[in-house]
Symmetry: C2
Subunit: 144 residues, 2 copies
DNA sequence: ATGATATAGTTTCATTTGCAACTAATAGCG
DNA sequence: CGCTATTAGTTGCAAATGAAACTATATCAT
């Protein structure tokens, strides 16, 4: 039963992968997963992005986002720009050091991904990703 | 970058699915995920199984297993049999109430799984599971 | 046998997590 | 405008997690 139960298998595999990835980021860059996610999202939104937008995109709790942001700002990897349109929030952007770190992480992340999926063809990888997204859709559509 | 990064996608999807499953188990049976896993594993090992064997199989921390077992024993869903071969451990078995609960959960779990994967063909489901297992192999083989 | 080392399981403690309450700013409605 | 309701983000608190220390039993080498 359990062994063939897909939510269990999914969780099992994800834990394995996440542990691997988390310890690599920690060892190489001193970043935890939420911190790395913020760096990546902010890097992809060079015009700046609010914490709540990050939360929406990644489904991370706003508390998690808040704490990751605070920690990165402390370390001068992230900066807050005033947000004209809504002064409750700020726009997060990367500092030069943040950019540099991002550029250093990306190739390592891709390399790691490549190793984890080393026995998959391009085609299989695409298919796997598409299946994950279909599951997301189903669950998010509330078809539960 | 992040959006296409497979360890991230995997974690994203798993979180969605796990939240769904966890709240269903909690609401329907008052069980947390580790507790449900113990019930299932013990049900599949009617001759009894030790906590450490459960930990090995499921990769749950021994503390998690210990606490889930204690809680289930408190609720008379699980019982400890003496373990002749090694008295540091016990063999966990289901009580009649535990069996009954197990028989009640299984169809609900399958139904939920069915809903989550409703847009997948049998074939796709098999393929998805096999991919997850291949990832497990790669990571567990230390090919990282 | 006897002492040294290892293992099963529990307990303790520190860390992580996320909900809920809070603060500050905004939006909507009279 | 001015009052109420809502939202962005932080802080406080309680629950969940896991590493490390601990207890009890087992194994192994002499």
């Amino acid at each position: 039963m359990l062994d063939k139960f897909l939510p269990y298998r999914l969780s099992f595999t994800t834990n394995l992968v996440s542990e691997t990835v988390a310890s690599a980021y920690e060892a190489l860059f001193g970043l935890r997963i939420p911190e790395w996610r913020l760096i990546a999202v902010v890097a992809e939104n060079p015009e700046g992005i609010t914490q709540q937008a990050i939360g929406l995109k990644t489904r991370m709790d706003k508390v998690t986002v808040s704490r990751a942001a605070a920690s990165l700002i402390d370390r001068h990897l992230l900066a807050r720009q005033p947000h004209r349109a809504d002064q409750r929030s700020h726009l997060l952007t990367l500092t030069p050091a943040g950019h540099e770190l991002y550029r250093a992480i990306v190739p390592k992340a891709l390399e790691l991904e490549h190793r984890i999926f080393s026995r998959f063809s391009e085609n299989e990888i695409a298919q796997f990703e598409s299946m994950l997204r279909r599951i997301d859709e189903i669950v998010l559509d509330g078809a539960i």
